[in-house]
Amino acid sequence: MITKEVISPPGAPNETFVINLGPQHPATHGVLRVKIVMDGEYVVRAEPICGYIHRMQEKMGENRTYAQFLPNTSRIDYLSAMTYTHGFVGAVERAAKLQVPPRAEYIRVITSEMNRISSHLVWWGAFLLDLGGFTPLLYAFDDREKILDLLEAITGSRLTYSYYRIGGLYNDVDDDFIKGTREFIAQMRPRLKMYRSLVTDNIILRKRLIEIGPISKEMCRKYGATGPVIRGSGIPYDVRKVEPYSAYPEFDFLVPTCEEGDSMARYLVRMEEMVQSLRIIEQALDKLPSGPVMAEKVPRVLKLPAGDYCYAVEAARGRFAVRIVSDNKEIPYRVKLRTPSLSNLSLFEEASAGMLLPDALALMGSLDLVIPDIDR
């Protein structure tokens, strides 16, 4: 392995320079800007600069009713819009003490997990694009389109679904959706095997990822990193297991973890998560109860009792938590959105110090960032 000592031995003159990555750069997946102090090819200090897509989501929470804020939740992290809506409606339902019918909870689980797969597929394609492989993107988007077709048929939209409602769902699913989802599961399993032999076992990928960008357990805890990042460091933290919500306790699934903590570990965790999501969807389809999809007696004008309420969900990137502070009006007093990408990226400065620049970008890709999720 090439270490820093080989290129600039101790005692050599220390010459650093600054390069500016972004806000428009293909490797930053959007409008993240990173100011990097370099010593030759090595990163001395990489400071992410955020806010280039700050969209006032929390301010908007304070000037519209709970129902009117729902479309915004799909646009915080547009790749896993379902889970984010789930977090918000969950908080409101908890505060209003609404009982969501079991069928609605099951469909929420099914759609959230499908959304998680589609999100991981985008990450997979884009991450490999960062590393220099173009073809996987085409395979990933091909499979993703199947999920989007299914979700579009029931929600009417491809990306920003606004499908969940306070107290239930906007619409029930039909038999075609159930049939189509079963077909999709049957198609997806061999595709994941194909991904494994095409990409995961590829020696070039392994050389690019193994031992690159290790993140320790302690670092995850200190920075509050969650999702595949913390599971890639060997801590089996998953909101679905630790603080079970919705219908998740009724399903049998594993939380994949990897001890190594390097970029490959995070890669493997996400690949295994797709398998587990397929398992959850299959079980949910088998046990799907019948009944209504909307709670009875959802008030038309919703006022939450004063106080503050939290609700956390496991989004594709980690723990997404909503805190609503209410003062017994139609409009929330304060909406705080705790997003996983912000915490996951905040450790980048510490983790990337001393790495080669292309490895630092591999590390950044393995964190799976969605920039509007950081900036909100």
Partner: protein, 152 residues
């Protein structure tokens, strides 16, 4: 890669941190979404957070709430446990015209960005913070949009 055995979902533990000298109040998780709630003075924040750090809790988020009617700003620190269902909220209140809290950046380095964001939105100053510059707002921003009296 072997998926690790998942931890069994442990029941809510209202007294899990009872041995700590922190004035915790147990909260009904089903109704509120967190287990323990403590209100402390601003100068106690660093000590309290250090104790929680030793217990192995992870930093969830830091945020503010502007209570304009009371003339106060509230700073809310959220923590979660990595294996137990245990969510802890620590709050502190500072006067609205001079909102100053010591930083917990030395205990939890991840607090850096959360504190910068809270400073952006509310103008709460975190004493001892190494780099309290605008984070989400433009570099030259001097306004604090989530204050209740903000007009653009």
């Amino acid at each position: 890669m072997e998926p690790a055995p998942t931890p069994p979902p442990s029941p809510a533990l209202p007294n899990a941190l009872a041995h700590l000298p922190i004035p915790f109040q147990a909260v009904d998780y089903a109704a509120k979404g967190y287990h323990l709630d403590a209100t402390v003075n601003p100068d106690q924040v660093v000590d309290v957070v250090s104790l929680l750090d030793k217990e192995g809790l992870a930093l969830d988020t830091i945020t503010g709430v502007d209570w304009m009617a009371q003339g106060q700003m509230e700073v809310v620190y959220d923590f979660f446990h990595l294996s137990k269902a245990l969510r802890v909220v620590v709050r502190t209140r500072v006067p609205r015209d001079n909102p100053e809290v010591p930083t917990i950046q030395k205990v939890f380095p991840g607090a850096n960005w959360h504190e910068r964001e809270t400073h952006d939105f509310f103008g709460i100053r975190f004493l001892g913070h190494p780099n309290l510059t605008p984070f989400l707002l433009p570099e030259d921003a001097t306004f604090h949009p989530l204050r209740k009296d903000f007009v653009s």
